[in-house]
Symmetry: C3
Subunit: 348 residues, 3 copies
């Protein structure tokens, strides 16, 4: 879509500095921009590209306006403004309503006439699918699932039985929702399966990344709150609860029965052990291991970043000998103390 | 299914304390229990909910019997007892034998008449499928695979060619068994593929989680022993052997040719490098990196749990300077030694 | 295929020591070899099996020739030679050209007559598929994708819309290419989706492992260079660039907009945060967390290997008190300094 810059600014409620009649028809990054495109500056690492950008407009903060060689939309949150602009300039294509001839739909399923059911989709007994739902090629929807209005399963998504999906949920390919939790009881060295009788309940406006897995609860449901955003290859175990508007980056694993608060952020590769409670507004940095509950908001970390291997080998050796080093310091302290005591004249 | 409590106790060989005629028809957790349900106490974190539970019966250890406000089944292993009770009260639904009309089955495949082949399933040449096997929607079974009696592939499982699956194996959606191992030889900076000519052999009573991947061997087979339980998103590389009744939690990666013993447990996110041997009854805690063989049973760890980021930044700095700190202690020891030597009167 | 050993040696350009007429028809590992097979020694851990091997020939370095009990092919790079030999002895089976009756192919798709389209495949509008491409069962190819000559998608691979795949690319089951990047802008605690408008461009001779995910770029494309090899369960985020001939082992996660150089190797479980630049020939060991750019070649590490848990608990406690230990050493240094200063006679 093509917009007059002033109309665009008006629609996203931004302050325009420059030519109101400038025509914008595409999006770009600063360093590769072409005329007609709008770009943005939200990460200071890219500030060096601002002065020479060929973009016809740039979304940026007031403080960078002096450096901007072209028209600008000024905002305190340029990335948010860019998101809104992008949604206008590149709207999602609409899927056609109806069922592809190759879809296999159980007679007992209730599917809204405005829904789109793609090729090779399998929909089992008693599934309920709401208005304008879009089920892409190859998805499998197990018996008794319910998908509410406006949700989209891109392709090859698997919903196991009796999973419920809220409104405007977006699920990417390869995601599996409602697989059995890892419930095992040990009987003299042999593992006995604990039936997984709960389900998964996904709230509204949730996004679930490619190949992410969310297990069904053992007895109660696993719960993903409204507005939660899950990246790719995340593992959510049985009985977990993720609070509203929490965002979890790729490759995170959350073990069973842990409860994560609202508006938390988990960076990539974080691991959280089971049966913990994480408060609202808790943030963990990449690859951090979480082994205890956190009852207060904050920013927590626990991993060691990469250094040259030869340095690292020495560091490991030193860490291995920390106990001995501590004893040596204690010994020095004792000697120091005893020497001090040995000197009667010092305090005379 | 509904049970008289005494009948239930009898079937699972538990000691009943309370009303033999109490009627049980569902399962619950202590804190949300309703009358008619049976619950359990196996993790002391949940003991606080025992006294006020509304469950009609609770499975617990003798030592908690005094605190139990209702009927009880007493056991040294309440979680195991709960597993057995749950299997009785909520039995798996049986699949109907036969092939869905949309399944694509090679004429050379041998499929037992009691097997169930779901919609959209693809079964390639010379596949052998045993009695009461259940292949769910969208699974792909490569040529020459063999699946023994009573196994179940839930949905969208991929078996590459010539994989063998034992009896009563349960495989969750998105799992891929028999993909090529990561075999590469370097030819002056260019990677040359090493053909992966082995296969994967899965034993009896194995469970394989959603989106878990098990690569085929390079020459010999990758082997998963009887009773092994694999959670979601696990990566098992080529030529790995996992011993019987070992349980591996989600997001674990095991590199090529490593051999893991029997009855081991690997917690979530563990990584094991290649060509190692891990003895029976070895246990690794979450996110531990395993870089050497372990020849004795034991419990091993290696990761640093989360702390406040500002504390962590200081700790990292201290770790970086451990070498220097060690040198400073050595210098103090030298001075102390030299001072001691300087005092001829001390030993007089 | 069966080869005379001399013919085999000639084809792979290796020096033969032994019986030129020996007949080779299979591959083996040293310890389980049978007559008629050829084996190799490239990892010294397996040297102990050389003297008693039953293989009819062994590929090895000159320095081990004395220990070889049978015929030998001598090479400076035995593993590379084995790769070449294996490709000759066990050639890939050819797929038959044509489309399976159950494949669903959009009329606007252009598919070369020599391509093989398997059962249950879905090919959407305007897809272009080159010569001798092999699309296995259950793959979904989104609209506008292009797959060049000789590439193979094994089974159940998902390509989202407008992804481009080079020549001779091999993609294993469950891989997802072109899913949306994790682009989110925060609007007073609520996450707003940033449309992901770029795509994914995969070079020639790339291999992509099972259940690996590669997100499409936000504006520009995510780029995987020629000859890159990706193992299973890897996550490549939006806008990432991976340089030619880089090899990445399983379970690695690379965050958004990071640029990785050529001929790098990332061991299993490595995590790289976003917006970094990694030079050519950089190597990271298993589970290393990368939090800064690396501008020079080298080998980098940052993780702590497993030790007995009781040792580890003490080590963690010592690490927690490193700040205090450092202060104690400083105090001792002060005392030592002051004692030295207190002794005016020392320097006389």
């Amino acid at each position: 879509m093509t917009y007059r810059l002033e109309d665009l600014a008006h629609q996203v409620d931004a302050r325009l500095v420059g030519d109101a009649d400038c025509s914008i028809d595409s999006l770009s990054v600063l360093q590769d921009a072409v005329p007609g495109s709008i770009s943005f500056l939200s990460n200071s690492k890219y500030r060096k590209y601002l002065k020479t950008t060929k973009a016809s407009a740039v979304i940026l903060e007031q403080k960078f306006l002096d450096e901007c060689p072209t028209n600008a939309l000024v905002s305190d949150n340029p990335y948010l403004l860019f998101a809104k602009v992008a949604q206008l300039i590149a709207p999602l294509s609409e899927k056609q309503a109806g069922q592809h001839a190759s879809a296999i739909v159980a007679p007992s399923a209730q599917i809204d006439v405005s829904a789109s059911i793609g090729p090779g989709v399998v929909i089992e007994d008693n599934v309920i699918i709401g208005a304008e739902v879009d089920i892409g090629a190859g998805c499998t929807i197990g018996k008794g699932c319910q998908i509410e209005d406006g949700s989209r399963l891109v392709a090859n998504v698997t919903l196991c039985h009796h999973v419920t999906i809220g409104r405007r949920v977006l699920i990417h390919p390869g995601a599996v929702i409602g697989s059995d939790g890892f419930g095992l009881a040990n009987d003299n060295g042999v593992w006995i399966k604990v039936p997984q009788l709960g389900s998964v309940c996904i709230g509204n406006d949730v996004e679930i990344g490619a190949n992410t897995t969310i297990d069904r609860g053992a007895i109660k449901d696993t719960i993903i709150g409204d507005g939660v955003k899950l990246d790719n290859q995340i593992q959510i175990a049985h009985n977990v609860e993720v609070g509203a508007h929490t965002a979890i980056a790729a490759c995170v694993g959350v073990a069973g029965s842990t409860k994560i608060g609202k508006q938390c952020t988990l960076a990539g590769g974080v691991g959280i052990v089971g049966h913990l409670e994480i408060a609202d507004n808790v943030h963990f940095s990449a690859q951090t291991l979480v082994t205890r509950s956190f009852s207060e908001p904050g920013y927590f970390s626990g991993n060691l970043p990469a250094v040259p291997n030869r340095v690292w080998r020495k560091t490991i050796a030193r860490i291995r000998h920390l106990e001995a080093l501590t004893q040596r310091v204690r010994q020095l302290e004792k000697q120091s103390q005893s020497e001090t005591n040995d000197k009667p004249d010092q305090n005379t």
